[in-house]
């Protein structure tokens, strides 16, 4: 086997099939960015708003929850609720100030917002721990934001997973995987129902033609704001779950790059489909992370770069052969005005 592996310039080691902890981690990431991208789907796919600031909402949700728990000692549940509200308020603020701009300028305003949040987090060391991450403020306060979750997680492992043989250390993140995907699945069901209501119909009308919607008595700006507020709440939720999986966050994980990974998921899964987001996220993260198992005669950083090359290639092929994405509707894409 190893002789064969050396003989071939490109070979796959089969360890990955049994690396449970690794794949559970990938599943958590896919779920977290699935929730993240549900917000983008609501904005882009259903309302026609181009939101490039989702990573900023994610950062805001994560940081505000962590600060509330660690610095202020607020119980986790309240902290999560409060941080979601804070993030929604930020979403409304940027919406009120910038939604009058034309779509492309609005997109630029949102990415600027996201960078403001990230760079503030990097520099406000007392508040966020800066580049060292929140672990430093956690140590200062001797309070860890993951404590509440680990209690639950350990209980689940001892009482539910151990009896069925999934209590080993390689399944340590399984409770988190269950939580993340439970939340994701629930949100997909709720959003699917919401979008099928008269409220969702107005959103789609705004996406199709804002002026037509306004001429029929719909307050287009109010609907865009609602869409943005819900997307920012989804961003905040994903931020909190990401923080749970990383156990300490710094500003790197809220780079604008991740917003565009979200867009990659969106394009893969297809516009105007929440289920597509789930599938797109799994595919994208499986490809991105699975490539770590490719034994390439290359330096590690080159392999890391190659992962994104492959994702790019997949997206290009998708555009060529299935431009509507996996779950998107081709009819909705090809009909013009």
């Amino acid at each position: 086997m190893s002789a064969l592996a050396e003989a071939l310039p490109l070979a796959v080691s089969f360890d990955f099939l049994t690396a449970w902890d690794f794949w559970i981690g990938v599943g958590v990431l896919a779920g977290v960015y699935g929730i993240f991208t549900l917000g983008l789907q609501l904005n882009v796919g259903y309302t026609g708003i181009i939101n490039f600031g989702q990573a900023g909402f994610m950062a805001m949700g994560a940081y505000s929850a962590i600060i509330l728990i660690v610095d202020l000692g607020i119980p986790t549940v309240f902290a999560l609720l409060l941080s979601t509200l804070i993030t929604m308020a930020a979403g409304l603020l940027i919406g009120v100030s910038s939604l009058r701009l034309r779509a492309d300028y609005f997109a630029i305003a949102t990415i600027a917002f996201a960078e403001i949040i990230r760079l503030t987090a990097r520099n406000a060391r007392d508040l966020t721990g800066g580049n060292q991450g929140t672990i430093s403020i956690e140590l200062d306060n001797d309070r860890f934001y993951t404590d509440g979750w680990f209690e639950i997680s350990n209980w689940v492992r001892d009482n539910l997973l151990d009896p069925i043989g999934l209590g080993g250390s390689e399944f340590g993140s399984l409770p988190l995987l269950i939580l993340v995907w439970g939340v994701l699945a629930l949100l997909v069901v709720v959003l699917n129902r919401l979008i099928a209501t008269p409220w969702g119909r107005v959103l789609r009308a705004v996406r199709e033609d804002e002026d037509a919607a306004r001429a029929l008595g719909k307050n287009a700006v109010a609907y865009k704001l609602q869409s943005l507020a819900i997307a920012s709440a989804l961003g905040a939720t994903s931020g909190w779950l990401l923080a749970l999986s990383l156990e300490s966050v710094n500003q790197d994980v809220f780079d604008p790059l991740f917003t565009f990974i979200g867009y990659g998921i969106l394009v893969l899964g297809g516009l105007a489909s929440f289920a597509g987001v789930m599938v797109g996220s799994v595919i994208l993260w499986t490809v991105l992370e699975g490539m770590r198992f490719l034994d390439l005669p290359l330096a590690a950083d080159k392999v890391a770069a190659l992962r994104f090359v492959l994702v790019g290639l997949i997206l290009i092929l998708l555009m060529a052969f299935r431009p509507q994405g996996i779950f998107g509707k081709r009819e909705e894409m090809v009909i013009g005005d």
Partner: protein, 284 residues
């Protein structure tokens, strides 16, 4: 001013009144002091050569453009500076010159969207009273299908609006405007691009709605046969001003209208280009 010339025939109180409305873009006065009033329950045509400011006027009346100054009174209340959705909710609904079908939505959704009084369009009410939303949906769907069948679009109900032909889109847009239960409808070139049979049906439907529900119509149209035969009243615009308002017979023979359409060469030869039209307008 124009009131003087139209007060001759006794008519219903105005549903829409515009007094000295101005709208400029840079140095161009697209609407330059337009004044007219539309009697309730009338079918009024708005005509004028290209660039006369008809579409701009529509946009100003319906709130899509904010007028520089002037008074716009709809049904006794000023709508000056109000937003388009607020004006639409007062019962003044418009269509667009270039149709705005919501292309990636089914025809039936286009129709149902327009219906007023759907509590399910507001998140708090949707969550608090989901049944009220569903009941209203059922009602609205029935109305929508009925209206679609009068316009021969019922078989297209579940198709994407984007698959309709240009003429069908015009009809859909009118049907959709009617779904909003308007008291006044502004139509920007409703006949353009639809076949004569359907056009006739559209006109019959307008007459019908006016007779039975007292709906007022104001429409921009270039087809003079339609204008002369189907309107009670004609408003003629040129260079941003209303130059004549009156019944078709009067307007047909009015020298100012002929001048406006045939150009200044026939008139006194003053080449008013855009910003400051000659003093002939005003018609006092």
């Amino acid at each position: 001013m124009t009131e003087g010339s139209t007060a001759a025939n006794v008519k219903a109180p105005p549903i829409l009144e515009m007094r000295d409305v101005w709208k400029h873009f840079g140095g161009i006065h697209a609407v330059a002091g337009a004044t007219f009033s539309i009697p309730q329950g009338s079918i009024t045509a708005l005509i004028g050569p290209n660039g006369a400011g008809k579409t701009t006027l529509f946009n100003v009346v319906t709130g899509f453009y904010r007028a520089d100054r002037g008074a716009i009174v709809y049904d006794g209340d000023s709508v000056f500076g109000k937003s388009p959705h607020a004006i639409a909710r007062l019962g003044m609904v418009r269509t667009f010159q270039i149709t705005k079908a919501l292309a990636a939505m089914p025809v039936i959704d286009n129709m149902m969207l327009a219906a007023p009084g759907q509590p399910g369009e507001r998140l708090p009410l949707l969550i608090a009273r989901p049944m009220a939303s569903r009941r209203r949906e059922a009602e609205v769907r029935e109305q929508a299908l009925e209206l679609l069948s009068t316009f021969d679009l019922d078989r297209k109900a579940d198709d994407y609006a984007g698959t309709l032909s240009g003429g069908q889109r015009k009809l859909l847009e009118l049907a959709r405007a009617l779904m909003a239960r308007p008291r006044m409808v502004l139509l920007d070139e409703p006949m353009a691009g639809i076949n004569p049979t359907l056009g006739r049906r559209l006109l019959e439907h307008m007459q019908d709605l006016r007779a039975n529900q007292g709906v007022t119509f104001l429409f921009v149209e270039h087809d003079m046969d339609v204008v002369m035969n189907h309107s009670d009243e004609i408003v003629v615009m040129a260079q941003g001003k209303v130059i004549v308002q009156g019944p078709p017979d009067e307007v047909r023979s009015d020298q100012r209208v002929i001048d406006a359409y045939l150009g200044d060469a026939v008139a006194d030869g003053t080449g008013g280009n855009g910003s400051a039209p000659g003093g002939e307008a005003g018609g006092s």
